[in-house]
Symmetry: C2
Subunit: 404 residues, 2 copies
């Protein structure tokens, strides 16, 4: 019998108990031993839950029980979750987590504590909900050098942008509706401002390039400035607007960023709609592969937590490959001004505007004019060049979208 303690009995915590129960026989067959939840730590009581008898309020009970070999942290945040995770690893217990904030902020330290104590710290559920992405990027793509990762990593914003696109509705209306039916939280800031996606791309960047960036220090733009007019412009150009988290190396340094982009119809992310997530990984041998599925939700996320529990349970007592992340210094971070991509530029549609713009951007094919704006796709250039051209065009600049 392998004993597990769950920290937090919210949506993901209760889902994890459910997954371990529902697929008990299959899990026992895979692991070669039964996997059982021994404790559930929560501040609340759950008198009507079938798991009521497992609830404890004192973490020390778990920490001091030598029978508990795996702890699943689903508290969230970087406060008490950090403290609990650290003491669990130091006590020689394996930890799995769905907590992207904690992994993004303290992953390097926690991995190194785990390695020092011969235990594992796994985080499959921290990115992409139920989609297997962390383990495939760690193990399956080990024969590849990662060139870049582009992800639709936040279901709430993808749902909002999909509805804005399909209905032509403004963000505020769709957001209200999404809140009403549970697709967006009462305080949607972390989602719509891109902070959730930022934490996740920082994790994928660390998996790809070994350095973990500070999620507060990378360039993050949410979807609040995306208008119905922008959505229409994208459509006219044959694109769709999606919130894209991106990482690559620029000049040997790591770049990670989040911004709403226009996605071309031949990009597999174009078809990732509603609350779904898609993660497009480019390997130097593999080319592009996409991982697609439910990026959130009780059972999908819990199934990822359970997959980590099972991975540890099936390999208990075997030496494991330590994960080494280094905290990125200022010198490890690429300057976003050096990043280059194709952009859609949008200017005010003034008299003789296009001929002025052509002096700066070269021949403009297929410009889209509507509602006093002119939009066009410009060839690859750096952010620095793009900003210069936008400022010096002699036509009032509205905004630009990166294209993918």
């Amino acid at each position: 019998m392998i004993n597990v303690a769950l920290l937090g009995f919210g949506v993901v915590g209760s889902g994890t108990a459910e997954v371990l129960d529902a697929n008990r026989a299959q899990i026992e067959k895979y692991v070669g031993d039964a996997v059982a939840v021994k404790y559930i730590l929560d501040l609340r009581e759950f008198p009507n839950s079938p798991y009521a008898s497992l609830i404890v309020h004192d973490y020390d009970i778990i920490l001091n029980d030598p029978e508990v070999s795996i702890i699943a942290e689903m508290i969230g945040g970087a406060g008490v979750a950090y403290k609990f995770t650290k003491s669990a690893l130091e006590a020689g217990k394996n930890v799995v987590t769905s907590n992207k904030e904690l992994v993004a902020r303290h992953g390097a330290e926690l991995h190194s504590i785990a390695a020092a104590h011969g235990v594992r710290y796994l985080f499959e559920a921290s990115v992409g909900g139920g989609i297997p992405i962390i383990r495939p990027m760690t193990n399956d793509l080990a024969a590849n050098g990662i060139i870049s990762v582009d992800g639709i990593l936040n279901g709430t914003t993808n749902y909002i942008l999909t509805r804005m696109t399909n209905e032509g509705a403004p963000l505020s209306d769709v957001l209200k509706d999404a809140q009403a039916n549970g697709y967006a939280e009462a305080d949607p800031t972390a989602d719509i401002e891109g902070l959730d996606a930022a934490r996740k791309i920082v994790i994928l960047a660390a998996l790809s390039f070994g350095k973990i960036l500070d999620p507060d220090a990378i360039s993050v733009e949410g979807i609040t400035a995306v208008t119905s007019e922008d959505v229409k412009t994208a459509e006219a150009l044959g694109y769709k607007i999606k919130l894209i988290a991106h990482t690559e190396q620029v000049g040997g340094k790591t770049l990670a960023m989040v911004s709403p982009r226009m996605v071309r119809s031949d990009n597999p992310l174009y078809s990732v709609e509603d609350v779904f997530n898609g993660i497009l990984v480019e390997g130097n041998m593999l080319g592009k592969a996409m991982f697609y599925g439910r990026g959130a939700g009780k059972l999908p996320t819990a199934s990822a937590v359970a997959s980590d529990i099972i991975d540890i349970a099936a390999n208990l007592g075997k030496a494991s490959r330590p994960m080494k992340w280094e905290v990125a210094t200022a010198d490890d971070m690429a300057d976003i001004n050096d990043y280059s991509c194709v952009n859609v530029f949008i200017f005010e549609d003034v008299r003789c505007g296009v001929s002025k713009l052509e002096k700066v951007f070269g021949k403009i094919d297929r410009a889209v004019k509507s509602n006093g704006r002119v939009a066009f796709t410009a060839p690859t250039m750096t952010e620095r060049e793009a900003a210069e051209k936008a400022a010096n065009a002699g036509v009032p600049f509205v905004k630009k979208f990166r294209v993918i």
Copy 2:
């Protein structure tokens, strides 16, 4: 130093040597030891290859060299590849393969020989080329009961169907062109008759349900009967025709089949175009997840072979979880007549035909008439019911397509 022998120096074999070389430093870091090719077995000489000095023609040299711990079999077929694989496993050497035919036909026996000798037999490259699918289904989805798998598993037929759809061209023209530019083989039988996809779905069915079916005994329909008219009908109904390999359990028995289907636009497989593969896995907790990428090609497939080599190299000397497949008996195989799904029925468009069809099928919404045919989508029914209704409608039946 971990020594590898490559069997077969064709496209995938030479690609594997290239992948191991190109990402040497990264692989050594991951494995914790250098991974080097010591021998390459091929009947031919390759005097101009940088690997010329590694070529051997006598398999015993490899088999008798205790320094070789991993053998990558990329010969193909179930003849000499079977003999070599068996003797390698019996000699206590780990084997990885890209050979779907061998895994489909002898996987159960080879897994059991591997387990008996404490070595591993891995086959990531046998399905989906470079797309990580075998390891994620084995490890990452271990917390899920698999409900079904639907895959576009053959790049050649997907390329042909994509071009038929985009150009309205008949299969024969597109096939000739595909052969001319290397997207189809001179003898395209295994691809266009669905045999390649059949071997692959049999492997995914075994991973999902533990029983390996005989690929020659499952229902397999290729794309040769798909006409330009069918493609137009699909388009008029809002669908696309794709060659879909499917597995699920019906009445506790395992079903696997391959057939051209009409794919709905909200299915993620709808957007899998050209030579790309997509594998949609439904888990009982996860819901649906899709794995997408290049299903063939030198470096993508080689990167999957290399990922297996690296997996073994990184875990040499550790006990591994044996893979247990049972050879399916006739009683383990579901009867395809019990399988049920939505279908598009196509009948001849005769006078009063629709009212006759409505007597048998119920109200027919959105029938599409063209070129003397009437096509409509009917609700879920078993294959048995579908055949009965088609035969008894009193209107000449043309064909039907399963819908996904």
